[in-house]
Symmetry: C2
Subunit: 364 residues, 2 copies
């Protein structure tokens, strides 16, 4: 009898962070693609663009002007999804049996949103920046995290969780190619993060250890999904990855948030970030689009919230086969469950074998 072949036969894998499943159908990678093509990347934009609202010295959409910044630059989002002040939401929860209270649950959400320019240069991206510049970005994340935590502690500002992220490339809804990320700070813990915290808590309760302590150990033993490793971090394609070349950067030791980073950790995160994104760009010789972000402890966390948190970053890149052909997570994925066309092990092998030192544009 034939044996089950994980690189050809369909199977589902369980994601213990989100308590959900992904359908893996490796043989579907052979399917021809006749659908939408992403715009090809043209690496020829100028270092300064007079029309860019993020370049130093330029005017912003709502009237302000950027300073002549020389490193990273943070400012409040002109179109913030949440605001620090708004009228209180008074809820009628007197009648517990009321249908509306039962089915229309709602919470007010205050907070603040920030834009973080990674560099004054319009035409750089993370893989093209110097490691020391990347350390500056990490410093900006750390300072923002600390400042907001302090504002919450000392001035009762509605700041509970800081979601740091970057949308890179038009395919991921980025509307300005100037290198920048965002940070949305809310008074509630977002669903994805609170689901992870719940899973971490459950795991610890059941196994008396941290999920990520076990997971890092296992991936270092197996090595099949490992992409990069240094003293402080590993990069893996998670066993339960959804996006074709999805990765996770996980700290080897328990660090609950970017606030706890010392200088060595910052340098090691900068180094592994640079290597990973160089590999990404080299994969299809393009500026590789993705959404990425940090999952960490809530601001001023204590008790379980603090002890269950473990610093990690998720990278969700959409490209599947080439610079112009992406994976669409649509019909079956939205209505049924996420589905992928190559195995995480196949993706990890490709990424592992790519050059992580020299960017393809520097070889031309």
């Amino acid at each position: 009898a034939q044996e089950f072949d994980f690189s050809d036969n369909s199977h589902r894998r369980y994601n213990p962070l989100t308590d959900s499943w992904v359908l893996v159908s490796p043989h579907r990678a052979k399917r021809p693609w006749l659908g939408q093509q992403e715009a090809a990347y043209k690496p020829n934009s100028p270092a300064y663009d007079p029309k860019c609202y993020l370049c130093p010295g330029n005017n912003r959409a709502t009237g302000g002007q950027n300073p002549e910044y020389e490193s990273t630059y943070i400012f409040p989002n002109d179109y913030a999804a949440v605001k620090i002040e708004q009228p209180p939401l008074l809820q009628n929860d007197s009648d517990k049996d009321n249908l509306k209270n039962r089915l229309f649950k709602v919470q007010s959400v205050r907070g603040n949103c920030f834009v973080i320019c990674f560099s004054p240069k319009h035409n750089l991206t993370i893989p093209q920046m110097k490691e020391s510049d990347l350390v500056n970005i990490i410093n900006a994340w750390q300072n923002l995290n600390n400042d907001l935590a302090k504002e919450a502690r000392e001035n009762h500002k509605p700041f509970k969780y800081l979601q740091i992220f970057e949308n890179k490339g038009t395919a991921m809804g980025c509307s300005n190619l100037h290198p920048h990320g965002q940070a949305w700070c809310l008074e509630s813990i977002p669903s994805e993060v609170s689901q992870e915290l719940k899973s971490f808590g459950k795991y610890k309760h059941e196994h008396k250890t941290d999920l990520f302590a076990d997971y890092v150990k296992l991936e270092l033993e197996e090595k099949r999904r490992l992409v990069l490793e240094n003293e402080s971090f590993i990069v893996v394609v998670p066993y339960w990855a959804i996006w074709p070349f999805e990765t996770m950067i996980v700290s080897k030791k328990k660090i609950s948030s970017v606030s706890q980073f010392d200088h060595t950790m910052k340098k090691e995160l900068a180094s592994i970030l640079k290597q990973l994104t160089i590999k990404y760009d080299n994969l299809f010789e393009t500026s590789f689009p993705y959404s990425m972000g940090i999952h960490q402890a809530p601001l001023n966390a204590a008790g379980d919230e603090l002890h269950n948190s473990w610093f990690h970053m998720h990278f969700y890149p959409p490209l599947l086969r080439s610079a112009t052909v992406r994976k669409f997570l649509v019909g079956f994925e939205l209505l049924g469950e996420p589905q992928r066309d190559l195995t995480p092990e196949q993706a990890a092998e490709k990424l592992r074998n790519l050059d992580g030192k020299t960017h393809y544009l520097d070889k031309l």
Copy 2:
């Protein structure tokens, strides 16, 4: 003091079907858009395309040939995500304490995938088809559901759940504009569906009634999110909608699956499908992209699985402001929680006020 304004202040709403939250930031709709534009729709393709692998009489990608079909036409997907036969997946679960068993959970998934051509005409879409043609599609769904259930019962085929869906438009990953949907039949219940079944069961346990019985009643009372209604169905923008113009078609009475439809229900679903999709096309005067699909009882359901199921359809359309500007569910949405820029009530009002009888192309 000012009052909380749901059409301007940020809030989160709870989705009782998926047990998750969505962040609503209505004021963000004012944000200018400088990012990716979707291709504009050009309504001039021919009724027969000699290069289309779905047109009657043409050759398919893997060699077969389509018959000269005149109504709907179903065939097995040439690149199926699951197959009826594959080697068994033998799991080593002897050692319960083993790290691998704990963190790498996996299941084999068999099944079959089908393509359903809605019409022999290459250039039609649901809003442009006759109601009687739409009844043919519903008949095809019903027959497929019944046939697969029978195969499972009588021939032990690995068929447990039939996920019927349509990806419409290149923005939703559709690679062939010939009007067609898909149906993936798996031996496991997909995550989204099993989460809904869990929620329905919980609700019934707590409140001694069906979640959808209460929900339909409430939406018919409030009317603010109601888009369409006939004897058998309502169309609403759910209170917890994620996509800008997301809707749900819900049967007014408890019907567990398309297998239970009588002729009247088929006609009424056809009628409301046509009206909804005409409204969608009229909204931005384009062929409105979406992913849509049916949630219903598993095949051969009995007991709780049968009694907790309630036929409904989800429509997930990406367009936000115009035929070329979509909503991206990216960074914050993937890492934090889904976020929307207009309220469900605002979206429902727009859809309600649109013509649902005459398609914009028929007015030109």
